[in-house]
């Protein structure tokens, strides 16, 4: 898996709710889990044009408690659908598991990250080392990467694929 993403920065504030701000609640209630369906509604309650503006490799930089609320996975599957990376000041426990389970490369907690960049900056993030380069501002920031064993889950494509791999290993 390529752990280095380069693209445009999309910056968001604190306390973005998983149900609503990140993904309309109706998709959690209908248990929709197709990233291709969900990507068209990512952040649409904050910015209806967002799904059309982003490109694969772009990076969401978010404030504290990104994905707070009832831990539904749909918002993170929407991020996966666009092949975006995520760097957040913090992610609450339930959503922390869901970012991994959705197979989204991310860095968190990254205290202070929102003060280093603005929407539109050209960013390069290595999710395996935790190094974030802001090319626009010619700055580098080092964060702690996610543990290798949790990155393994992201690398195989998320929770379901990882369980299948574990099952194959346990019976093989």
């Amino acid at each position: 898996m390529n752990w280095i993403y380069r693209g445009r920065c999309w910056k968001f504030g604190d306390n973005l709710g998983i149900d609503g701000a990140i993904m309309p609640l109706r998709f959690a209630l209908s248990r929709e889990t197709d990233p291709i369906v969900l990507r068209d509604f990512l952040m649409s309650e904050v910015d209806p044009e967002f799904p059309k503006k982003v490109n694969p490799g772009d990076i969401i930089v978010a404030g504290r408690r990104f994905g707070q609320g009832n831990p539904h996975i749909q918002g993170f599957l929407g991020i996966r659908g666009h092949r975006l990376g995520l760097v957040a000041e913090s992610i609450p426990r339930g959503s922390f598991r869901n970012v991994i389970n959705a197979g989204v490369p991310f860095l968190a907690p990254c205290l202070g990250v929102t003060s280093t960049c603005e929407t539109g900056d050209d960013l390069e993030v290595d999710f395996s080392t935790g190094l974030m380069r802001n090319i626009t501002r010619a700055q580098e920031h080092q964060f702690t990467p996610v543990e290798p064993e949790l990155r393994d889950i992201i690398a195989v494509g998320g929770w379901k694929e990882h369980v299948k791999q574990r099952l194959a290993q346990s019976t093989g």
């Binding site: 504290r64 408690r65 609450p92 598991r97 389970n101 949790l150 929770w159 574990r166």
Partner: protein, 422 residues
């Protein structure tokens, strides 16, 4: 450096010394799931091609979210649950009428002991901390646990809460727990185990400890537990013959934070809509008209909670404009409520008793609200539509809910207790 209770329990389970922050794959001694997710985990296991559970003898299923099937669909679901339980050879199946609320009756039955490690589907399993067990929910990942025996977790940090003093008349542990989560806040609590200790614990029975261990979940705690003491041992003495080894934190354990909390400084608290941590002293909402009231749930459905409410309702009647539902959490609580005369008080007051389990708190399928109504209840959450239709939901102690049901508006229970004295 010493270890917290949590670090000690997880070290024993994985067979090596672990500390907060480490990623581990502990194998739980018990896995629980309720009636509303059994069909879902079966579907997930079928997708994975799994036909046998890792260890069916460690799995406990409870019919508590919808114990009395009132639609053809729920009758069909109950039938499917019974078939799935039989298919996987799950022996610890507590169907309607057998146990009650799955976060509670296993404690009464002596199935949960200090130092035990439990994993579950449902978040409120943390009640098991009432007797010093560590119980953690993994929601949909329960399928992975059922199939493979484990799932990854990070050894959590601990926020230690030392309780001191005694509860004021007219207050209960529900007021304490609500005030506590509002005071501590989600930034401090997230991903931690809230561990209760201190001299104030001696005055709090197991019933009250359920409540203490239940509420912190609402702001992101991974679990909560009470340091086992004489109260724990006395409670378990008649309930289990298994050896009990109380596990406590070392004096030099590394806590994220140590908080001192004075029980005697806390009056009645009400969580206002729309979140359980939007907690204020009752004065702020006194006089708010209500039409719906409920006493029960895994947060406040024990015998002590029912006895508190009955103390207010004795020789009083529920207000004509209010319907009050009372749900004993377990079969044992219901039986004890009958034996000790509480049931008679509730029925004489005009309350409606429902089958042991979650009661209205499980989505309002039983005794829910209508559009625009206002409820005060002892459920776990007050999100919009938690009890079916939209309307304001206030969360409070059984004492406050009972007092409000009598007057038809949010009422300080201390006013009624004083009347009783004079």
């Amino acid at each position: 450096m010493g270890q917290t209770v949590t670090e000690k329990i997880l070290s024993r389970v994985v067979g090596r010394r672990v500390m907060a922050g480490e990623i581990i794959h502990p194998v739980p001694e018990l896995v629980t799931c309720h009636d509303w997710y059994v069909v879902n985990f079966d579907k997930a296991l079928e997708e994975f091609g799994v036909t046998k559970l890792f260890d069916p003898s460690r799995v406990l299923i409870s019919t508590d979210h919808e114990p009395v099937a009132v639609t053809p669909q729920s009758s069909e679901r109950q039938k499917k649950v019974r078939e799935i339980v039989a298919k996987y050879g799950i022996t610890q199946f507590y169907d309607v009428g057998r146990g009650g609320l799955g976060h509670m009756f296993p404690i009464e039955m002596g199935l949960i002991r200090p130092g035990m490690f439990v994993e579950a589907y449902d978040t409120h399993v943390t009640n098991y901390g009432a007797v010093g067990a560590l119980a953690i929910a993994f929601v949909v990942e329960v399928s992975e646990i059922l199939a493979l025996g484990s799932v990854w977790m990070r050894v959590p940090e601990t926020v230690r809460v030392n309780l001191d003093g005694k509860l004021q008349r007219g207050t209960s542990t529900r007021d304490v727990a609500q005030k506590l989560i509002a005071d501590l806040g989600d930034e401090l609590i997230d991903y931690s185990v809230v561990e209760f200790g201190g001299p104030g614990l001696a005055g709090i029975d197991i019933s009250g400890r359920h409540t203490l261990c239940n509420i912190p979940l609402e702001i992101g705690a991974k679990s909560a537990l009470v340091e086992p003491d004489e109260v724990t041992l006395a409670y378990l003495a008649s309930r289990t013959k298994e050896p009990i080894t109380p596990v406590k934190s070392d004096s030099d354990a590394n806590f994220r934070e140590v908080v001192e909390y004075d029980l005697s400084a806390i009056g009645p608290q009400v969580a206002m809509p729309p979140t359980p941590d939007n907690v204020h002293p009752i004065d702020r909402v006194l006089g708010t008209p209500i039409q719906h009231a409920f006493i029960g749930s895994c947060a406040s459905g024990n015998l002590r909670d029912l006895a508190d409410a009955a103390g207010i309702l004795k020789n009083r009647r529920v207000h004509p404009g209010v319907r009050l539902y009372v749900t004993p959490a377990t079969q044992e609580v219901a039986r004890e409520a009958a034996r000790t005369g509480l049931l008679e008080i509730f029925l004489a007051a005009g309350a409606t008793m429902t089958q042991a389990g979650c009661g209205p708190c499980a989505g309002g399928r039983i005794g829910g609200m209508a559009e625009g109504e206002t409820s005060i209840n002892t459920g776990t959450r007050n999100d919009v539509r938690r009890l079916g239709a939209s309307g304001d939901i206030y969360l409070a102690s059984p004492l406050t809910v009972a007092a409000s049901a009598v007057t038809g508006q949010i009422t300080d229970p201390r006013s009624m207790l004083q009347e009783a004295v004079s």
